[in-house]
Symmetry: D3
Subunit: 265 residues, 6 copies
């Protein structure tokens, strides 16, 4: 059953020292999102940066997820206040913002998520107030979770300053981009020891400041490793990859094992 | 690479005594369909009967699949000539028609798939001729594969008459409905011995008349069993179920094994 | 909070001798539907007969409504089994079927809503089973509410036979069409005494057989009158009309009272 | 400027002994329809039979066309009353119905377009009454133009009986299907003398009964020929074909004449 | 009847010392917009900032409104030139731009609405020239109405400089954001005396410079008050709120007065 | 047949000293795009700047085109990195970026198209890697073609600096905006001698640096002239204009030549 109150499940899980298990949505289909919402994810993230869709698909996806108690996160395509505010007004619980590399960029992002005087979010929570109730207007500043991404060499250098911007709730590591920046090649679930140390340092730096640490992974095994080194918001794969790999597995079973699927008749 | 010729992959595979491994589409998303199209299915069926979408989503899904060489099948929602013809004009390789229970119903279905004098399909292959080329107009009657469904007690009784309607290329068994009819409960991958015998009888009856035999299954294991008893068009699961089960599996791994996903920090 | 169980709110209200207050949806917008779902209607009916939309808009509207506990009804455009089954598979609580004029037509409609042996609904509750849970498959026959429409002279004549078809849960009177049939002109909320007597006779005939009685009205006043004469499912206006009349009222206030809205500056 | 009155431009042109020049829409795009609406066509027909779209695209196309005074016609995919009524409620001026082969089929079609007692159209002109005004309800029976198609050998035989059904405003010849029926091959703008005589006989038979005669052509030259032999509703090509041929022509000019488009630099 | 000329109704009303009564669109539905367009609003504003939709819904809404003579305004989500130009090319009469706080921001906004040398709008009025005619290209700079928003403390301070940017046609006050800025809480139709004085000062400052003054309100009563203090562009409520309140009112009538809607039978 | 390899047809044509003949898409319809893709264009450009659509329509259009071997280009609405990266992730071969006026703006544009260390494109080629294969990730930097637009007086001044930004593959001249800037009026296919000299100078400046030169034209005649003066990427007209002119021509033929289309009967 949905829980359209202003208790943000992400904050609740973190308050209980838990880890948010987060699903990732690349399929622009409200029905696919609704299927994902029934599998047990704590939250689902609409990846509007690399997923082949934008805001026009998002409202239906959010509605579909909110037939369940699963929390909804939006990763925006860029640090753009107009777009960030649109997702907030549409009723998401959290925003992941890519490519936050400096304190100023982080301040711009956080400000877009908070009403004055804590920020410069424009007032008009059209769907959010419908779904979460009229108390949304006054509660939103404490409700919305902000997650700037750490995914460049510059962000790594500026990590402390970024984390010290008031209102940062969690950081989110983009391991593909970070690997591209550090090693010249994007790779998910990278096992390079130095990279793992960097990931651990990022998480530790955040957690000691009572800030959450999130990351994208491609497998439950790597996600567990991330939890062990301090991450408390782990994404595993995406609906698109899960679909592809499940189909591939079934096809391997039938094609290989059945002698190229020759009819036995 | 796509193969937009009038050589229907279903006919080619069958001519080589092969089995068509067919995927099933319940997600109304051209991107989900495109992902499925790249996994190795011989054909993909748009299930517009039980999938939560209709013709308005189908054209985009067909276009997406036809960026690959995968064949496209449409299961229509009912034995309705206007709708059947729309899917044909949109460029599908085959039609699966539900609830064909009598010779007359089968004739109505086959007629809707064939231009006169072999049927009463109306002329206007708007997208089909764009995709397959101008020769579609004269080649369509031999190109399009027809698959009436056998899924009721009445259809079982009338099996021979249905199969004897000229132009039937394959039958397609709906095991859910057939089980509901025979045992009062729908169940996929049913192992009841009598049911398996019935399935085998259907396949054998079709194949000896040089008619294909198709069926829906939920697993590669059951699909292999079906191939062994004579089916040469086997569907395994659906994109929706594959997505759900892959997500469920990942979540079980992370939630169970990681001690309820408590943060290690 | 939504209540995605197999307890159909319509049956519950009726079991408590209550009246279902039903809203009517002509706006093909999941957001408009969601707004309606938060106002307090017991159920909302997607009017796909006269509303300018079809199944392709319905799934999003159903999802949006099911973020709330409001029940969802679909009025189909015609007594067409393929379409009726699609709405059921999409997860509606009830079907209103127009133009049911004979016992045979009523049997065809009821049969489309029930799995064998009580009918001939095809198995595949794709979204319904996702939303209501796996028990939907076995519980659907008792869950789904059927409402054939009484709206022609012929239906009036055949009223008893129509009501005696097993599985009829309620009838729904179309007062526009019925008035057109009886008086040569469609009119909603008609006060003609003979018409009111006819409406009362229909309701009484249904209710003594323990069958519900539904009707469309344009005002709460007429709806109350209908409740008094035996109706226990009353529709009031539509989202489209409510929007138009609310806008018209505001415009009258500002345009008339403000001296044609001349600037006071 | 649009002309949202109940004066149907088709009836006006015919009353002045004029010919309706009709465009044909295969592109499911309200913007493409709006472009067509500004070029000077007397009417535009949404071909929902062979065009790759259905009702879900139609409302936007109708709205776009009705920013101009161009009349809107819908060709439905089949003689299906629920669908015919939906297009009428959406505000079209006329319906073309395919595959009308007998008097009974024609009566079913005409009845779906007329309110009782002249037919059995269901009352609820949601968008039509918004666009054309409240007088639509009483004026619709005289406003809506009905056009059954003559496109089979059977229809040719039954031509007189079809034309004698009260309420037939015009017939519409499908030359592709009619040629397929008579010569075993669909061909537009067929010059076979016997075919031309047949076309002339159809037009004459209709016109002497004061019934309009419409036809599909692929060129202005053939359309002029049709006007000469009695047709007063001529369709020329389609948006899809016009687009393709205009692109092809430009490409021929640049590719052939520019020496395979080698850079002169 | 639509009036697709280059006479902008906003300019005409203002030239006659009138007040533009403006409706507000939060429902992403071309049919809802068309209903609004027939109620008598002088203009309708697509609020793409707080409404749950974006450009992809806007074209259909604009087309629907332009079946009527109602003017169309777009409030963009942010002061972003690419987006502003897209709405202009789509054929709106005016742009409301949020969060214009400095002279430089205002210049950027105005420049995006004007072709060189008066600005830097890019040439390509694809739909605008279709709808308004070929003279749009040369007339657009005088046709398009620009409305920067005054809704922050900073904007209040910079009011004179903002108003002095050449090309500002009207300002538009966002009373929610302005109240949030000044009183720490957003509230529409605020009666705080100091706030009313501020609103009056803004209007007066604009009007003496022959610049229009617009504002958002939630009621005709407050709108009249705004007209009295100098506003000549008043928005009243939104389609979403009008729908909700009309439904709520009907439900109160039926639920309260009918004894909790118990069946009288 | 499609050619989903990492050999970019634009680079291949240019390597062979050929000219890319490019079509232009203003119709937001995947079917219209697919029709265009079959006519022989070397590439098709989605003009999301002036076309009445945005990213939400683009994926379907790209999929439709990629059922053919035609290359796909996106003109973005503005020099916005988040949007540019979305089109790249969706699988286009090239980006045309409007209003690039300085070296810094050009660097920002090029950087958005290249992964580090050559730029700052974020990693996540969701659909691109599906379509072009897993090697896309490492090959993308050499695959993607970048085309900044030269269309202002400022850009003309800064032409050399813009061209010298590493990674510029071709420039694209916007003759409408450039004419507006230089002559105060937008005009396509302008014959002013000074303008032609300017166009030639731009092309020559680019080509001597081994950079391509592209331009928009309205006719094959002007396109040939552009090829002669050094352009090797020529756009001719748009789908919208081709449709309009083809319709207009047919209507002129039938309306003028047929005596105002009076019925000959």
């Amino acid at each position: 059953m949905p829980n359209p109150s202003l208790e943000n499940p992400l904050r609740t899980i973190w308050a209980n020292n838990g880890v948010v298990i987060n699903g990732w949505l690349h399929l622009p289909s409200s029905f696919a999102s609704e299927i994902m919402a029934h599998q047990g994810w704590d939250s689902l993230t609409l990846d509007t940066q690399h997923g082949p869709y934008d805001f026009s698909s998002a409202v239906g996806m959010i509605q579909a997820i909110q037939t369940s108690p699963t929390a909804v996160v939006a990763r925006v395509a860029w640090n753009d206040p107009g777009t960030i505010m649109k997702y907030l007004d549409a009723g998401v619980h959290a925003i992941i913002c890519p490519m936050v590399n400096t304190r100023a960029e982080c301040e711009a992002f956080i400000g877009a998520c908070r009403y004055p005087p804590r920020g410069y979010r424009s007032y008009g929570p059209t769907r959010a107030a419908l779904h979460f109730g009229p108390e949304y207007a006054t509660g939103a500043n404490d409700f919305v979770v902000t997650m700037p991404m750490i995914e460049t060499a510059q962000a790594l250098e500026n990590l402390e300053q970024i984390l010290d911007v008031p209102g940062v709730d969690a950081i989110f590591v983009g391991p593909g981009d970070l690997g591209q920046a550090l090693y010249g090649q994007a790779q998910i679930d990278r096992e390079t020891p130095g990279f793992l140390l960097t990931l651990e340092r990022i998480a530790r730096t955040a957690r000691v400041k009572n800030i959450g640490a999130g990351i994208f992974t491609n497998s439950s095994a790597y996600a567990k490793k991330m939890i062990e080194i301090g991450y408390n918001f782990v994404t595993i794969s995406s609906d698109a990859r899960l679909l592809a790999s499940a189909a591939k597995q079934v096809l391997n079973e039938i094609k290989n094992d059945a002698g190229q699927a020759k009819s036995g008749y």
